[in-house]
Symmetry: C2
Subunit: 334 residues, 2 copies
């Protein structure tokens, strides 16, 4: 390992004490302007870089925050991270990334191994149905913010309005004249999944439209699952004439299945997704969807986390960002 320049080196060269150097580096007021200048010049000359380990050790903080997230290989999550990154970076925080691969076990393992003292705070989009591992670290007093996939634990949460998004999406289908509306979604034990399901159900109830049990399919979140679910729907005795998918990826999977079957999307079957992934405008016909403010979710989550870090007992908050229906070709008859 190399030897890096330390404040000691600077102190020695300048014949001052380390505390003086430290003061200059931290820009405190109890130091003369000339010595400060002198020190900073020497630091620049020697290419001094502060040692975060030492600083963290003596201050009890690290300037690192952790992000725990199911995936990063999709538009939504990678955009959230970008939002987080922006805020973190401009506040002098580093972000440490943990990817759970949507595995409860992995998430629990990561959280438990989290050397708590190495992080000033945590941002998490949990994939778990059980929150014991999170409770543990919460009890340790480490600030934590839930985003997107939140838990039912008490705490600060930032999410989109899943219920209303699903509501307006489903109502839009109804208004476009579709009436046999299916919903393909993810596992039952996720909160956002339940919220979107409820929005869908309430929209139908409000319009007194009945649902067949086989129109609601729980599976995974990927495009492949969307394709499979659609094939299953087409094979059922009561084929639907519209589809509300829990996210754009599944909607797109379903559309690919429909295109294979030469079923006219829009005219024969309406399709709505959720997220507003750029893929919506690439697929043809373009996909109607509910937009999510991924970047803002990241930005706001991080801002709230920093507030928790800086102020003990900052009160927990729940922020819900509205979605917006974006009508495209997949729900228009032609």
């Amino acid at each position: 390992m190399h030897h890096f320049v330390t404040i000691k080196d600077i102190a020695r060269e300048l014949n001052v004490s380390v505390s003086t150097v430290s003061r200059a580096m931290r820009d405190t007021h109890d130091i003369s302007i000339e010595t400060k200048k002198k020190v900073l010049a020497k630091a620049e000359e020697l290419n001094y870089k502060p040692n975060f380990n030492a600083r963290g050790l003596s201050q009890g903080r690290t300037n690192n925050i952790g992000i725990i997230i199911p995936f990063i290989t999709n538009y939504y999550f990678s955009t959230v991270i970008t939002g987080i990154q922006n805020v973190a970076y401009s506040n002098g925080y580093n972000i440490i990334l943990y990817v759970t691969d949507d595995s409860e076990e992995r998430e629990s393992q990561i959280v438990r191994n989290l050397t708590i003292s190495g992080l000033d705070g945590i941002l998490i989009s949990t994939c778990a149905g059980n929150y014991d591992h999170i409770k543990e670290i919460k009890e340790n007093g480490i600030p934590i913010v839930f985003f997107d996939r939140t838990s039912d634990l008490h705490g600060t949460k930032v999410m989109q309005d899943d219920y209303n998004g699903a509501l307006i999406a489903t109502k839009h289908l109804i208004e476009q004249g579709y009436s046999k509306i299916a919903h393909i979604t993810g596992p039952k034990d996720q909160m956002f999944t339940r919220n979107r399901l409820n929005g869908y159900l309430d929209a139908l109830k409000e319009h007194q439209i009945s649902v067949k049990k086989e129109w609601i399919i729980h599976s995974g979140f990927s495009q492949e699952w969307g394709e499979k679910d659609m094939i299953e729907l087409l094979a059922s005795n009561h084929a639907p004439d519209a589809l509300f998918a829990v996210n754009d990826r599944k909607a797109i999977g379903a559309m690919l299945a429909l295109k294979k079957e030469k079923i006219n999307i829009g005219t024969e079957i309406g399709v709505v997704g959720f997220t507003n992934d750029p893929m919506c405008t690439i697929i043809s016909p373009s996909l109607t969807t509910v937009s999510e403010s991924a970047f803002d979710i990241g930005r706001i989550s991080c801002e709230l986390l920093l507030k928790h870090i800086k102020k003990v007992n900052f009160p927990p908050q729940e922020v819900i960002l509205p979605g917006e229906l974006i009508v495209r070709e997949s729900t228009v008859r032609n």
Copy 2:
């Protein structure tokens, strides 16, 4: 700030010295099996977590590696990160993410502020044309691995075979009967951009096909730029009958422009991209492309970095992963 359990606490409770506890935690051999058991049990009981700052400070390392990357919001980079994450995690390393937003200035700022002692090594996909900032940290002796967008500095690099990929892509267009082949690409000062350009040029040269100057357009890497470039090509006096784009996003932008103009892709104009982004199979007609092993790039880069970290003077290596032509509808006449 909270007080976390330290080895001192454990030592006191057990009436042993801190070094004994330290030894137990590190699983060294010079400790009796019973005391080790005793210590570990107590650590478990008190929910002890090691303090990485302290450990890092005394050992001169942190188990953190940095990733510096232009973006994360696209398939390629997010997949690379996933590959890196996998290797890092299973070796007990954390990854700290820095996003440059494709800005040279930002990259330089990040690198210069990098509190060097806080990282054991760095993985970088540089967006810069000038490498002074990187030279600086290299001279500090910190291990560094370049991936994807490498520099011409000496060091370990992991990249795809850009030249050959471009060569086979262009040859494929020629073999399909296209002859007026344009190339839309990124800034001139990037190495991988130059390599792909050279592959394209050499393929044409080999087949004695001439190129018009206006068929080569340098702009940005985004879908929007692809669209703009295509519009420019269509407006030129010598409209091409085929297009090789530096990446899939630009190819897709170009395809959208063509679709707007009702130009039949495949029959009237062939299009090839580069990356094999999932979008290739979502757009219609599907996009012929050259595949990149994004996950492997990440995996291998991280493995090499860890070798550099663990073994001083591990010799620099250059790994070049082959690409593969994936023929789809966009280069087939119908």
